[in-house]
């Protein structure tokens, strides 16, 4: 692993490699550079998860001249695919070094898409939604009960925007969630349930189910459950497999990808 990173740096294939390193007692994301090859030996794989691809795209936005490599688990890879079809990064601009999933302490399985949330207390299970539920298990409940439970969850929202800020595929410059005409300002919790439904709809064809949003949520709203349902619908109704390929146009609820010619040439 270290060899590969060193090789990427030394051959000039990348200028910066984003991986992890222990610092101040924490496993932290770190930018390894060519100038300090010894440091590369200190690179570790985990156990924390950060949206490295998001960091890479942010760097590229300010310094398009750089070439960046990232340590990519499956979710990083999918996110990068989504960012590429949305023209946020040109294909190949970010080199990936694939590693196996998934060192998060929240994760008991190696497969990221079955990433499970921690155990929750009895209170939440009784009146809220257990983050470990699957969409079908939630759907087995009566609609009125389901609605109350969702409302319970949404009302806890602190409007910290953490779900958006950590999200690797949230790249918009102007966020609808901050748009005064769409979401009223100045109230807590934010407009229930519009705030979360707006975000859910915006996640259609974008969410790659990495679970970082739920990790970052200070009040444990089962966001993955919501977005997972959204993407189930996207897959069933539109036959669109989010993040699985670079060969598809960006998803939009407004047009059918099959009826469209290939996507327009890539921009900068």
């Amino acid at each position: 692993m270290h060899e590969k990173v060193l090789n990427l740096l030394e051959t000039g294939k990348v200028d910066i490699f984003l991986g992890y390193k222990m610092m101040a007692g924490h496993p932290l994301p770190h930018a390894f550079g060519r100038h300090n090859p010894v440091e590369v030996q200190e690179m570790i794989l985990g156990p924390a998860r950060y949206p490295l691809e998001k960091l890479a795209v942010e760097i590229l936005a300010a310094r398009p001249d750089l070439k960046i490599g990232i340590l990519a688990r499956d979710c990083n890879r999918r996110a990068l695919n989504v960012l590429t079809v949305h023209q946020q990064v040109a294909p190949g601009q970010v080199q990936v070094l694939e590693v196996s999933c998934c060192p998060s302490p929240l994760q008991r399985h190696a497969d990221c898409s079955s990433l499970e949330a921690k155990e929750f207390g009895a209170g939440k299970k009784e009146i809220g939604i257990d983050n470990n539920l699957t969409p079908d298990r939630l759907e087995a409940m009566e609609p009125t009960e389901r609605f109350s439970r969702w409302m319970y969850e949404f009302q806890k929202c602190l409007k910290c925007y953490g779900c958006r800020d950590i999200c690797p595929v949230c790249f918009c410059r102007e966020c609808s969630l901050e748009h005064e005409d769409l979401i009223g300002t100045g109230d807590l919790p934010p407009e229930v349930p519009i705030f979360h439904l707006v975000r859910a709809v915006h996640m259609a064809g974008r969410c790659i189910d990495c679970g970082l949003c739920e990790d970052a949520c200070p009040v444990d709203i089962p966001l993955r459950l919501l977005y997972r349902k959204v993407n189930e619908l996207v897959a069933d109704l539109f036959d669109y497999k989010t993040g699985l390929s670079l060969e598809q146009p960006p998803f939009s609820l407004l047009f059918d990808k099959t009826a469209q010619p290939a996507a327009a040439p890539h921009g900068a």
């Binding site: 496993p27 930018a31 998860r49 950060y50 960091l55 942010e58 602190l158 200070p218």
Partner: protein, 134 residues
């Protein structure tokens, strides 16, 4: 070139762990520190925007005194001297309870301790408060 710098949120007393994204010496953004025992990878909206005030054009970097109705930049010496004079003036006329102290979450606990000590022991008033309670 690009660094991720661990730090502690300066907004309130909770002490959440944060990670600053720094590119070419410029602060790009804030991330929660995933493994920090206090916040476990979560932040409130203020923490998420911790970097905002650092580069904000509205940030005050020098003391201002209103001169002829307009704020003017002055030296710390002058500002402190001016404040001390005014305090003395007010307190000599109306007593120590006529003044109060507001402390900030953006300074350290030690500094906050000093402020309340200053209010209580030096000035002699209990009129001291902190922005987290406002």
């Amino acid at each position: 070139m690009y660094k991720l710098v661990p730090s502690v949120c300066s907004y309130c007393g909770t002490g959440c762990g944060v990670l600053f994204k720094v590119l070419d010496g410029k602060l790009l953004g804030t991330l929660p520190l995933k493994t920090h025992p206090v916040n476990e990878g979560k932040l409130c909206i203020k923490g998420w925007n911790l970097h905002e005030f650092v580069n904000s054009p509205l940030r005050l970097k020098a003391p201002l005194i209103r001169i002829n109705g307009r704020f003017a930049k002055v030296t710390w010496d002058r500002a402190i001297r001016y404040t001390a004079e005014k305090f003395r003036e007010v307190m000599s006329q109306h007593g120590p309870d006529s003044v109060g102290f507001l402390a900030s979450a953006k300074i350290t606990n030690e500094d906050n301790y000093l402020i309340q000590k200053f209010a209580r022991a030096v000035v002699g008033t209990n009129n001291v408060d902190h922005c987290a309670r406002l």
